[in-house]
């Protein structure tokens, strides 16, 4: 599960991680008030206004309606309201949102941390994530802060510092010191970085996170180390024991169809294609999507109905797929093991009749227990449904349906 920057910073602060302070607002007036408060709290006289959406690239992104960037600087208190108004309620398009963009419902009014002083401010990169190959967490850091880290990894792999954490003992002091030294820090800044890394790792473990990305981490002109941005990704499987974090979920950031599917116990991911599909099992669902592509179509979605597919789940799946106007055909692919194919077939027919007005061809591929009986039920239903038993037949049916 993803959370917003303002939520992530609050969580990190709770574990002693120093952050760029800020106050969240949902109206231009509230943004002005936030700036006044922030000035009193931190003494800042410049204000960074940051759109809060679940996607990166906000600084370079643009608000469709107003042309404003997703992250802007107000150098006067009096400018905050106007600049906030140009972002709030607008649609932010970044390299990660796709052309349709995302609506901005909240902004973060943050303090200016790039103030001049004894030394130059400098940006770093830091992330913590699971390294699947070793089954342990790894801290990744780089002196190339504020940049696209994948690009750094490709062009200058030597500039990426990696420190693996033994799950049995957790992060050790020498490891945090080593990373801070490798980042070229000394004196107060080094001590501050060690503190930053240690508290960040503690936060990562305590929150059951699956990824932290802090880009940039800033060394201020007076040698403080703090998080200017924060991306926190939580392990969905651990949310049951993180009730406070689970509350941070923002349904407005998720596709409404995906939310609806989740309520019916279905795993749905919306895609851009023209052939809808409904499958039991995640691997077979992905394989079915691939087969649709090989048959000349494009998958409109990923939809896993899980192990207990029945008439109710099939109907819920149908209703979700049919809400997508791009769908030109639907392929149902169920390998019935414990679930019997004749029961699934009856479920399909019932769901079809209950929904009524289905205008796209439906191909039902049932294999496994009672596959022949299932095909017979489909064929004799008198509905615009085609049966198939092998995967190959199903692919051919999809192709024919698209060409018709």
């Amino acid at each position: 599960m993803n959370i917003h920057e303002y939520q992530a910073k609050e969580v990190l602060k709770g574990y002693g991680v120093r952050i760029q302070e800020g106050i969240v607002a949902d109206t231009p007036e509230a943004a002005h008030e936030a700036a006044v408060k922030l000035n009193a709290q931190t003494g800042t006289s410049w204000y960074v206004i940051k759109a809060q959406i679940h996607a990166g690239g906000r600084g370079k992104g643009e608000i469709k309606e107003t042309g404003s960037r997703g992250v802007v600087l107000a150098k006067k208190l009096d400018d905050v309201k106007e600049k906030a108004a140009a972002i709030l309620g607008g649609t932010l398009v970044t390299i990660q949102t796709g052309a349709e963009g995302k609506k901005v419902n909240k902004i973060l009014v943050a303090e200016d941390v790039y103030y001049p002083g004894a030394s130059e401010p400098k940006e770093y990169y830091m992330s913590i994530l699971l390294d699947r190959a070793t089954g342990s967490n790894v801290i990744m850091a780089s002196t190339e802060g504020g940049m696209d880290i994948e690009e750094v990894a490709e062009k200058h792999p030597e500039k990426i510092i990696k420190e693996w954490i033994d799950p049995k003992v957790g992060l050790q002091g020498f490891q945090a010191r080593k990373v801070a030294f490798k980042l070229g820090l000394s004196g107060t800044a080094h001590k501050e970085m060690v503190k930053f890394i240690t508290s960040l790792y503690n936060a990562y473990v305590a929150t059951d996170s699956s990824q932290f990305e802090i880009n940039p981490v800033l060394k201020t002109s007076d040698d403080k180390i703090l998080a200017v941005d924060a991306k926190v990704n939580l392990d969905d499987n651990a949310l049951y024991r993180q009730p406070k974090l689970a509350e941070l979920r923002d349904l407005a950031e998720e596709d409404p169809l995906e939310v609806e599917a989740g309520k019916s116990g279905l795993n749905y991911v919306k895609l851009d294609g023209n052939v809808g599909c409904m499958v039991n099992g995640a691997g077979l669902a992905m394989a079915t999507m691939d087969m649709i592509k090989l048959s000349g179509g494009e998958p409109a979605n990923f939809l896993d109905v899980g192990g207990g597919a029945n008439a109710t789940t099939v109907e819920a799946g149908f209703r979700i797929i049919l809400q997508d106007p791009n769908v030109k055909a639907i392929l149902i692919n169920v390998f019935g093991g414990i679930v019997r194919c004749d029961r699934i077939a009856n479920g399909v027919v019932e769901a079809y009749k209950s929904i009524g007005d289905i205008r796209v061809p439906i191909i039902v591929r049932l294999q496994g227990t009672n596959a022949e009986e299932g095909a017979k039920i489909i064929d004799e239903s008198g509905l615009k449904v085609f049966s198939a038993i092998t995967l190959k037949e199903a692919a051919e049916r999809v192709k024919a349906a698209l060409e018709a």
């Binding site: 699947r132 059951d208 099992g281 691997g283 077979l284 691939d290 592509k293 496994g368």
Partner: protein, 293 residues
């Protein structure tokens, strides 16, 4: 011979009296698997499905000589159940449970490694040696006995592969569902290695999906080991977009090496018969073995 499980395996079920555990234990018994008992803490001393129930795995091992365990315990307690099995001396632990927190598996994996046992899963369909033992949730009838080994991250796609293998006139020696989580006990390479060394396996079907580096690692090992047996490979998720989790917790494209295209390329480079379409697994295997399907 086969690998991991056979007719001599003495199997216990952890989470024996729960609904999932009961249902699948019954199915396994009907299949002919030697289920010697089960564990549900607090219900020790009772009988379930005509088999003894124990309070702990240790007690179950002492009383039945069990060497294999299958776990249906809910996700919050599953890592604990895995470690309990390892501590009690179980040699093959098969964890079916889906949804175990990553942090829990991160602790359980080194724990079992130190105790010299094999963990299959979690979030997997289990292991089947057709005609001998089914220690999992797969439909047994799909798996015909034969000499093709199957290694797969996905449940229903494993059944699909087994079905196509049967339709090609071949059968399965052992099918291993390794699971779709980010941290699993046995990697693709380790499972492939078992089948390469099994004298009763002539060829291998290797099914992967987007995310992680397991398939690439296995492919390189297969080449380094001299491509001793034909391997047919498929990677699900050629059409999956980056950054979106496709059902399985582990099925997410993070970097360039995680994509289906990258994995298929590496597999091809290492002498694996890669199929683009999942419908071609059986026919390609028949061709690789020079059998008329």
């Amino acid at each position: 011979m086969s690998v991991l499980v056979n007719k001599n395996s003495k199997v216990i079920v952890q989470g024996f009296t729960g609904s999932e555990g009961s249902f699948h234990a019954q199915q396994m018994i009907e299949y002919g698997t030697n289920v010697v008992g089960g564990v549900t803490p607090g219900k020790g001393g009772s009988t379930h499905l005509e088999r003894p129930v124990f309070n702990s795995v240790e007690e179950a091992v002492q009383n039945t000589g069990a060497d294999t365990s299958i776990i249906f315990v809910p996700p919050a307690f599953a890592a604990d159940a895995i470690m309990e099995a390892a501590d009690a001396g179980i040699k093959v632990i098969i964890a079916i449970t889906e949804g175990i927190p990553v942090a829990d598996m991160m602790k359980a994996k080194p724990y079992i490694k130190e105790r010299g046992c094999v963990l299959i899963g979690p979030n997997c369909p289990g292991v089947i040696t057709p005609g001998e033992a089914k220690v999992g949730i797969m439909p047994g009838f799909v798996f015909k006995s034969g000499r093709i080994g199957i290694v797969s991250k996905s449940g229903t796609l494993t059944y699909e592969a087994a079905d196509q293998v049967a339709k090609a006139g071949l059968g399965v020696s052992t099918a291993i569902g390794i699971g779709g989580d980010p941290i699993i006990g046995t990697s693709t390479k380790q499972a492939v290695e078992m089948l390469m060394n099994d004298p009763e396996t002539d060829a291998i079907v290797m099914i992967g999906e987007i995310g992680g580096n397991y398939e690439a690692e296995a492919a390189k090992w297969i080449r380094a080991n001299g491509n001793k047996k034909p391997v047919v490979g498929f990677i699900a998720g050629q059409t999956a977009p980056p950054g979106r989790r496709m059902g399985h917790a582990g099925a997410i494209i993070g970097g360039a090496d995680d994509t289906a295209a990258a994995k298929m390329r590496i597999m091809r480079e290492n002498g694996i018969h890669v199929v683009e379409s999942p419908a071609e697994i059986g026919a390609t295997m028949a061709k690789a073995l020079g059998v008329n399907a």
